[in-house]
Symmetry: C2
Subunit: 478 residues, 2 copies
């Protein structure tokens, strides 16, 4: 008899796999080990919890542990998998009582996720300094933002999950007046909005010359003035050297150029890394990115061991090669496919196009595919790009807003490689047109011909994506 399907990690990829598996193969056991208390939570919602738009931590749970158990999944929270023995087909698990035990598996999914990095910035262990990854840090940040006399553990709505001692300690501290955000990526921009909602003086430090590098300059050049209009002080091209503290709490941020800013809170969002330590010395190979290499079914180099989610690579829709693009939908989809495969129906995990959208106050930003020209050249393309700004609705209809679209294509074949978009009116969702065109391996000429929706309240006759395709098409050899 086959052993159970064992899943390491109880978030998007892991629980999607376990749920799908159990629906397909009700007779075989599936055990999910999660080292923390939280399971199945929405990372991407944490800035909005901090902001206060999402009231309770538990609102961010897609499924409660009870709902997971109701699906027939054997969920073990506070169980850390600390070793894998592929030859014996067992994992070694450290339980909440501190005792380790071996668990046999028939198939194994490594869905250990990623973690926020803070290196090489010293001082992130000070009180008032945070990375935002997971609900515990979100709870701590919001506890700090609350006035101590208005704070209660219950106000966070994390009943039974939240680290009560930690949030109580933060809740008792004086709220900050000035906060430094280190890193101008997704988390940095979303947290700038969140902190501004608490009326903090917000400073955003970005080592590069522009925020949001994956979205490219066309997007950054509209986001940056918008952030400043909203009161965020930008420090671009500025490397943060360290966070400094007084009596254990962050009190200042020092830059490599010697300048210093007095702050009483800091959020470091300079990237995440895949959690791959567990597979070291198991024979599970990593890809060039440092994340776990997998084939089109999510299988690692070791028999019966799969990987998915933020710890694993996926095939890129445009290059066809594996890439590490840790995002929510693809984690869910890969998990779901692996659940189906393990249950007996081989199902490809699908590709990742790197589709990402972001709210920056009132601006909507989107990006997909390969938008960086150097990256396109590395992948063997001869890229050509065009940027246009066009209206989001018929010009005479109220609410029309300038929408900037940048498209990148391969000169020789005319194939669309990627795109980005920014604007205030329904800009983000329009990136799906580009994402769909990429999956269809369309040329710019095909995109020009798309019969997209037109009605004055929603779109002009020529959607901004079509305008961009027309202009880019004019640059391509016919």
């Amino acid at each position: 008899m086959e052993g159970p399907f064992v899943v390491v990690g109880g978030d998007a990829a892991g629980l999607s796999a376990a749920s799908k598996f159990k629906r397909e193969d009700a007779d075989r056991d599936v055990i999910v080990f999660e080292r923390g208390r939280w399971v199945s939570y929405a990372h991407c919602g944490t800035p909005y919890f901090v902001k206060g738009e999402v009231e309770a931590l538990t609102d961010l749970l897609s499924l409660s542990p009870d709902e997971i158990e109701d699906r027939g999944i054997d969920l073990r929270r506070e169980h850390e998998v600390i070793g894998i023995s592929p030859d014996e087909r067992t994992v070694t698990v450290l339980g909440p009582d501190g005792e380790a035990f071996d668990q046999p598996y028939g198939d194994l999914l490594v869905a250990t996720g990623g973690r926020a990095v803070s290196k090489p910035i010293p001082g992130t262990d000070l009180d008032g300094a945070f990375t935002l990854h997971g609900l515990d840090s979100a709870a701590n940040v919001r506890a700090l933002l609350a006035e101590p006399d208005a704070f209660s553990v219950e106000s966070l709505g994390g009943d039974g999950y939240v680290d009560e001692a930690a949030v109580a300690r933060y809740g008792a501290m004086a709220p900050p007046e000035t906060v430094a955000i280190v890193g101008g990526g997704y988390v940095g921009i979303e947290m700038a909005e969140a902190f501004s909602a608490w009326d903090l003086d917000v400073h955003l430090f970005q080592r590069a010359e522009h925020v949001l590098p994956p979205f490219g300059e066309a997007v950054a050049e509209r986001v940056e003035p918008h952030l400043e209009e909203r009161g965020v002080t930008l420090h671009l091209g500025t490397e943060v050297a360290e966070l400094r503290g007084e009596r254990g709490r962050v009190s200042a941020l020092a830059c490599s150029d010697g300048t210093e800013l007095a702050v009483d809170a800091a959020l470091v969002g300079i990237g995440i890394r895949p959690n791959v330590e567990l597979v070291a010395e198991t024979g599970v190979e990593l890809g060039e990115s440092g994340a776990i290499a997998v084939d089109e079914y999510g299988r690692t180099s070791v028999d019966r061991v799969y990987a998915a989610g933020d710890c694993a690579e996926m095939p890129h829709v445009v290059t066809g090669e594996n890439a590490w693009v840790p995002l929510g939908l693809t984690a869910n989809r890969a998990g779901r496919a692996i659940g189906e495969t393990v249950a007996g129906t081989p199902t490809p995990v699908g590709g990742v196009a790197g589709t990402a959208v972001l709210k920056a106050f009132d601006l909507e930003c989107g990006r997909v595919g390969i938008t960086d020209l150097d990256r396109a050249r590395e992948a063997g393309f001869d890229p050509v790009a065009e940027t246009v700004t066009a209206g989001s609705r018929s010009g005479y209809y109220p609410g029309a807003a300038d929408t900037t679209v940048r498209l990148v294509a391969d000169r020789g074949t005319g194939r669309l490689l990627g795109g980005s978009i920014v604007g205030e009116d329904r800009a983000a969702v329009r990136i799906d047109t580009v994402a769909t065109a990429l999956e269809g391996e369309m040329t710019v000429e095909q995109v020009e011909r798309l019969d997209l929706a037109y009605a004055p309240p929603f779109s002009p006759v020529w959607d901004p994506v079509l305008v961009a395709a027309k202009v880019l098409g004019g640059r391509l050899p016919s």
Copy 2:
């Protein structure tokens, strides 16, 4: 030497062709004959002008006559082309002075558009009864809605174009209190919103059992209660027999079932027909739809005669066969392509997917491709459909709204054939994902794998289109 490029009709298709032609071939003349005074105007904006959201008639012009002339186009308004002689390569034109003359052409584009039909409903010639097609009727409706003592011809902003006698006459009439809309298609729904903004008692009559037949029942079943919530009285499955009048003004609407409703205005929006009378006896063939048949370059069956816009068919993206789908973007695109072709670079007019979006008060509706199962069978498919309702954003994020998506696919091949969508939050633009997938001839399996945008403020992890594809995929043989 070649004769000029002559264009019949000065709206979307005609002026797109003339503009593109002149940019590509500056040396050859292009003459545009338009029988009316208005040129290059946005049909789709007229309900919003009547509503009052668009202030001036001239706001609805994409280009003014001066701008058109500046492009080097010889624009002749109030010139009606009344005959074509393909053998002589001339058109016969009736000028504003009532004199007819012959104009030679090298190439000819028939872009005569369509017209609203009112048959078989008697009484549409009464004062207070309208069809909405073109800016003159829109001007008359808004003049009627205004209080006579507040009305002035100038308030319509149609300086130099508007039929001053007609609008002055309507402006002097007492505004209506109760209006009947005959027909529950695009125009009917949009005008229900427009009339409601003027606080009229609005009654909408639809012969079929549901409004918006091209969008299908899944959409209609959400639109109908929404209209009623907004105070529109629906009379579904009700055939209107005639409009009745007193002293020349509409006073009642009579139904085939014998019921009668007292009204003091009526708008008939029961469809449009292509204007093809001009090509009768020219050898230009019509398609099955009754519109002008064209090839992939917009060429008719007669040498050097092209057709585009609401008077012509276009190849349908899904069936590959010609279809008559009179919509704005495809008219513009076909015109532009023909302009390029006539200038020497053969350019396909592209396909029509029948993409349409509509605002019904706060609901956004969209449809694309083949959504009717009978129609799909006629086209040789074995259709299977699924309808789902899913959130427009992460459930915990404010503003998430139920979004209903219906997708239709071919059972044998899994190919996506069409879809419709309805919801209050960014629903319309999402139909572009389906439109793009249709152009890419994607299967449902491919749609399931699309890497669409996810961020809590804009979309849930699984976009409603993906949810629908997952459910429909489960119905298809794997």
